[in-house]
Assembly symmetry: D2
Homo-oligomer: 374 residues x 4
């Protein structure tokens, strides 16, 4: 096999980002195993047809069940909202397909576990798309931590701040409804900071979490003269304790004016510190105690060196920065490489289950008003 | 009275900073009521004598009890470690002196309450020295919030990060002993972030706090071959809920390598955001939703405009920055002005009691593993 | 015509960047007129064949003369080194093709003028690829200046700093040879800063320029034991005077360690200032005197708002930054739109002539040691 | 001698800054030789009397000639406008006094030379107050360059940007008149950047300079309905060539809106780079090629480490920043130390002559429109 036929379910924001990845990974990164953009699947035949044409898919389809069972499909990419992930993934697993599933893996721990069970039973390749792990600066952070540059980790300080819900006249979109979205800032963005915490620091043992909905009512989508109740959080904060003893704070909010995509973390260890901000995603700030005393300081590494930094060799010369969608290209590249080599890509569905367990403990803690074990 | 005779108790770090303030306030800020640096008080006669000479005091003394009762003393400034504040302040109050007390007001809520009771009973002027309130950028933040520029406050995000204890060979100083210091990062630095939270956002209703001591043993001061137990925290993190409903996270740690004096806060409201960092204390970052959409962004205000920014008229032209010790000069100036005008300076001992109550609730929460009311 | 057949001459760094633009402009920006990636042309048949396959071209070819005369080619894109631009462009013009030519238009003013004459005689569409004009932050700067936000312009301060030649063991590449490259830092990078100056401030009237070659010899490519002479500058600095009276400084150097792609400019006018840095190309710093006095400061606009900022509507939500190669996508989009609408795209070959005249005056000035008129 | 009696001539901005230095150097830095603030001298008896009282001087006087000849005066500090420096300094030298002279040494090369000759003939201690050399971050830069951390220097890029003259209604102050001020932005602020260039990189051999007056008329001080001509530059830009071959650009302007005191420089050498900005004067940015390739970046050194950074041991713990006026305290400390030890302080009057020669060459070049030798 030198081509991998892909079916992508979903064609909105994430569908566009994943399509871009399949379109770009070949020309840019030259994987041995090339993806073939076979079919784009969505419920609205006209819209998905148009999207398929624009985004570069050979066909479009409206019935995901048929699609995931097609013999000529090798990889099913699930880019729909979270409440539909389980059903699609389990069917794809049963059909023996490799699966790339957009985060969150599911809206509940139960669904997530069922999905993990399905892929393990079927023995198919499974990968969770937490694309921020594949930012070169984040991967460099991972390499530095693994190399021991930070020593013992004491602190993780993660915030994912946005501001898009601050206008109370913004209507009651599906993202404000618990039945559709599962949760609000918690699952949408705090989950990213949480996944990075697990990736970089380790598993989370306990959590004390709080949730809040500051704007409790919004105009209905179909009748702006009436209001409906917002049933998800718009802000989520937590203290966490890692298995290795490190302390953490994690926050996700959609009400931090001026912060557009401020997925920032800082990690402090016994030998050094590092900090990252998604709005300046080509940079990593690093402080090393091993520098000479008079010359210590946070250095801003521009993570764009083709010879020295992860993924950059496929892109441009030093200082020619990359953007948001490149993280999906890297994700797909690593997935293709894993499939070709027969290795297991990460993060996978087990990571999805673990992430979901932390989110569930966060919600339990917000109810119980006490620390909860994950 | 055109001169106010001052007795300063304590001559180490805080004693030096307060001395500087009394020395500088006249030449720089020309208060109507001038301080006279009458007597510096400490336990070691030789050392305090030398310090008095160097720092500009007329006399030195070793018995604070005698000093606070001297007829020619009008203001007692308490710059000793926290465990001695109560005894000195109560005696000074009984002697009818105005009092400026370095933070923390006391090491316990009980002591703090007794001090408040004493000054109220005596009817003397009392002020707590939380000098960071008097940074021009912080005072500008206060003005903006009071003017409604931020609208309803949703978030306070405060961190005070330092790194001076990261070396495990640093000996067991008094700051590592609970009997002397009361607590570690909690009372020393998290308390600053907490006081700023109260100053800028409002009273704190509930808290979920955690404390940790990562480095549990240190070499003894008098015998480095032996180790003693560290009995205070070196890191403290908390979630807080304000009376007005806002959410907050507060952290103090002495183990954040590279952060030397990183007293940073960010506040998000329904109309704007602002951020501050003590390491760049002449700057305030401000985001205003009222700016035109295409031109919104965090602006970095250099808070050094003599005509427009608090306290700056006494200093230098625009862009000529001021430093750490200037905050004490402003504090003393405001105290002198209040005494002359017969107004009540803030923060005062009641603020000290309130701060101490939050710290106590933080400690209770770390024990109970649940949210505690303040 | 709903498809425009493109022939791209050149497949190295610029060839890759332009290929990416043709590949991405359709799926991302949906122009009415779509490009068709017809043929990629280069001298090495095997290499260009492989590149065509990887980069998404239908065919490859080795003889650019044949290619530019093919009836089925509508647009010729010239991405070869500067010394070949004139010959190819003139041939393409004679063949009636629209032309997109990578900067510099040519290595000499004479060649540039001949090219301009050819396209004007032939009446074909001609565009010069100075892609940095199409960075959203730069285009926003242009909009603000045109709207009068900066008032009368006093200063342009442009630097394009890189560091890739600092190692004296780097061999004598073609970029170090005047016969191939025309000049060094001058034409390669200072020319970008110069074009932005013309775009944002206006035409340059006079210049006092200096050139230097700090590393004068380098190992030969084919025999590293021998050295050859570097015949181009590695650093170029200049004072400029604009037609409108504004003063400017422009610098390009390849010897600024740590600056990877530091194409930075600052512009000061009677009502405001703005600053930009290519290494943080999603940001524009803006200072407006019209802000209230106490709240003035440089604001960092994150130029990623789909509803408010140029080009962004085609990309991602706020705060999801874009990268270097996106500037070429925008360039191609604007070219396609101009062709479809029958308007004249900018910058064009006349801009190329003007840019080249400034560079020539810079070189004359470095010889004459005095100011030279452009 | 353990006390040095000081006479300060001038009591405005610089007089205040120097007074502060004499007042603070003892308590803060404990020099062996202590200054005694003997007499403050100015033309307006009432005003100088009041200033003396406020700023801490024992006496005031109006006749500088008498003052500099008083037997009980050891050091004459000249903080008047530049046109009076020569007369005072020559008289003080003849009277055998040590002299600290505020920059610029004089308004002309001739005056500067006469002053140098006078102090050399008299054999008195002479120092020029270029206080920015004594910023800890600048002194650290000097140490790093001398230690060879930057290798061979290629580039100096200095800008001193302010914006206080941007309002055309600002009246015709003495600083806008050539007879009083000598020049405008050139001598006032570009001269600082120039002195730092000489301090850090070396002597300047040649210069191509330009001067401009954008706002040519201003309201008269005594009759705002009439306007008078501005006879000094408000902007000055130059290319420079150092003796050691390095290239430089230097700019001073009072028309860069938003830049309040932006005395910034960047230096690039064969092994590293460093950058500094007076508005963040506690920081030095450093890039070292000797760092591991994947971890290189500009590090922001917070130059506040008592054990490792110049002058800081006298101030506060790490991260507790210092301000503008501290640079004068350091200057006075170094002068006192030099006097006590019998060594020659720097910069001295010879530096003043050299600085003035560069400024004169800059003006000649602006006339001749060509490079001029210094």
């Amino acid at each position: 096999m030198t081509e991998l036929n892909v079916a992508l379910i979903g064609y909105k924001f994430m569908g566009r980002a994943h399509s871009n990845a399949y379109r770009q990974v070949g020309p840019v990164m030259s994987p041995s195993l090339q993806p073939r953009m076979k079919v784009l699947c969505g419920r609205d035949a006209a819209a998905v047809g148009e999207a398929a044409g624009q985004l570069g898919w050979e066909e479009s389809a409206t019935d995901w069940r048929e699609v995931v069972e097609r013999d000529d499909i090798h990889l099913v990419d699930i880019s729909t909202p979270g409440d539909s992930h389980a059903e699609i993934a389990i069917a794809a697993a049963k059909a023996g397909k490799a699966i790339l599933c957009e985060k969150p893996l599911a809206n509940t721990v139960e669904d997530a576990k069922a999905m993990l069970s399905a892929v393990e039973t079927a023995g198919v390749v499974h990968m969770l798309c937490h694309n921020y792990r594949r930012i070169p600066a984040v991967m460099l952070a991972k390499q530095m931590i693994e190399a021991g540059d930070l020593g013992e980790i004491y602190h993780y300080r993660g915030t994912y701040l946005q501001d898009w819900v601050v206008d109370p006249e913004l209507p009651l979109l599906w993202r404000f409804r618990k039945d559709k979205a599962g949760s609000g800032a918690l699952g949408d963005i705090a989950s990213h900071s949480l996944d990075l915490a697990r990736f970089l620091v380790g598993e989370i043992a306990q959590i004390s979490g709080e949730l809040e909905t500051f704007i409790t009512e919004r105009p209905l989508l179909d009748d702006a003269t009436k209001k409906g109740r917002v049933s998800v959080d718009d802000a989520a904060i937590a203290l966490v304790r890692f298995d290795n003893g490190a302390l953490g704070t994690i926050e996700g909010t959609r009400l931090a004016l001026g912060r557009k995509n401020y997925n920032r973390f800082e990690i402090n260890g016994s030998k050094g510190s590092l900090a990252f901000d998604l709005e300046r995603m080509n940079e990593l700030e690093v402080y090393l105690e091993s520098d000479p005393p008079a010359r210590r300081g946070f250095r801003k590494i521009l993570v764009t060196e083709p010879e020295h930094h992860p993924y950059i060799a496929s892109w441009w010369p030093p200082g020619h920065i990359i953007g948001y969608e490149h993280t999906f290209v890297h994700t797909v590249y690593d997935l293709l490489t894993a499939i070709e080599r027969g290795t297991a890509p990460r993060p996978n569905f087990e990571d999805g289950v673990r992430n979901q367990k932390v989110l569930a403990a966060w919600e339990r803690s917000a109810e119980s008003r006490r620390w909860e074990k994950v």
